[in-house]
Symmetry: C2
Subunit: 210 residues, 2 copies
DNA sequence: TAGCAAAGTGGCACTCGGTGTCAACAGGCA
DNA sequence: TGCCTGTTGACACCGAGTGCCACTTTGCTA
């Protein structure tokens, strides 16, 4: 896809250069996750990862601002997907959109089961990674809050209510995911998610007339 | 307070040594918060803090495992208080205990208003600190979950429900606090907290017969 | 197709957070 | 007083992250 004038858009992959970069980043992420899982996050140095991916240490830090970030590409994508799903609400209310978006994420978790399990094991044994992960929850929460605020009345109380609801949602759904993982990730996460959403639906702010 | 035999208990302040340590730690925390607030967390080095408190860099790290931890003494205490409040439930149900404990924290926030504001400003501009703070939320959440699980039926579904409730509580109440701060910390946080708790009370698991 | 400007890369040196080690020291106690 | 033990400070070291600069690659254009 190009802009009307045929010029490459700023943020878009353009040519060989971009493709090489993407491949290198993917390789770094792959190598890193593999080694972290095997020996723990702290025991693996950036130098080792860079060497294994045949890239200089310096360049590693051009691709990923920190060693931790090499693990969170998936969450970043997830958050973007979430934002997109929430953005286009085809006529439905805000709560319905939120529900649909979150259930889509649940499905994604089930599809990527193996990866989710491996990453979660890593988070569980590395506090700094857990902390980073919680930061991502917060961004998801902000996206949800924005969606709910958009669909609610404009007064301060309704907006506070929307944010409260988003906070409760993220907090609750995280426990749902963790319980699902704790039970071996064998059950139907989407179903558990639906139950939780039904439980939380009374918290949603009143929808604004459309 | 001493043990029955009159011996100093293991974890208790015993003599001059302990008092000096306490004073030094308090001084470090004071100096650190002051400088962080003035120039930002990253712009102040551990060496500077240690020098200002007339202590060696090495000893700083004996008092606080990381530079970040020098800021979280208050949250650690809070979490301990929370745990205590939840532990002794004088005949009341788990939800009532949770409610009482959380409202006590709200009161504390109002009393320490200035400090809360200063610390929050710091968190807001330093992602790594925010992440650490969210980790503390998680510990609070675990304490709440334990209390609610203790008061609920023993089956897996009830326990999951208790954890879900704890997650929602922490997520929601964090937004309540943030909104309170965003509005200048002028309103009655305890009242806002009560409203939120009422809203969330249907999430609490059924209480086990006592 | 040659050449050029810009973007990307690697090496180097440096800062800072955090840790192991060890000798010197101070507090508590007999 | 003198001993024992926990605490301290100095030093060396490691790894994450960054600024800098020379060199290479890519994409474009003459």
């Amino acid at each position: 896809m190009t802009s009307p004038a045929g010029l490459p858009l700023p943020g878009e992959p353009s040519g060989l250069r971009e493709r090489k970069k993407q491949r290198a980043q993917a390789e770094l992420a792959r190598v890193a996750l593999e080694r972290f899982a095997a020996r723990g996050f702290d025991a693996v140095t950036v130098e080792e990862i860079a060497d294994a991916a045949d890239i200089s240490r310096r360049t590693f830090f051009r691709y990923f601002p920190t060693k931790e970030d090499v693990l969170f590409a998936r969450r970043r994508e997830q958050t973007e997907v979430l934002r997109e799903l929430l953005a286009r609400q085809p006529g439905e209310g805000a709560w319905a959109a939120v529900r649909r978006a979150l259930l889509a994420l649940a499905e994604d978790h089930m599809v990527q089961r193996e990866r989710v399990l491996r990453e979660h094991a890593l988070l569980a044994q590395t506090p700094s990674l857990l902390a980073r992960d919680l930061e991502w929850d917060r961004r998801a929460q902000e996206a949800l809050a924005a969606a709910l605020e958009g669909g609610a009345a404009r007064d301060a109380a309704s907006r506070r209510r929307a944010r409260l609801c988003a906070g409760a949602l993220v907090g609750a759904l995280r426990t749902v995911i963790e319980d699902w993982i704790a039970s071996g990730a064998k059950g139907d996460l989407a179903k558990r998610g639906e139950e939780a959403l039904d439980l939380l639906s009374p918290l949603a702010p009143k929808e604004r007339a459309r």
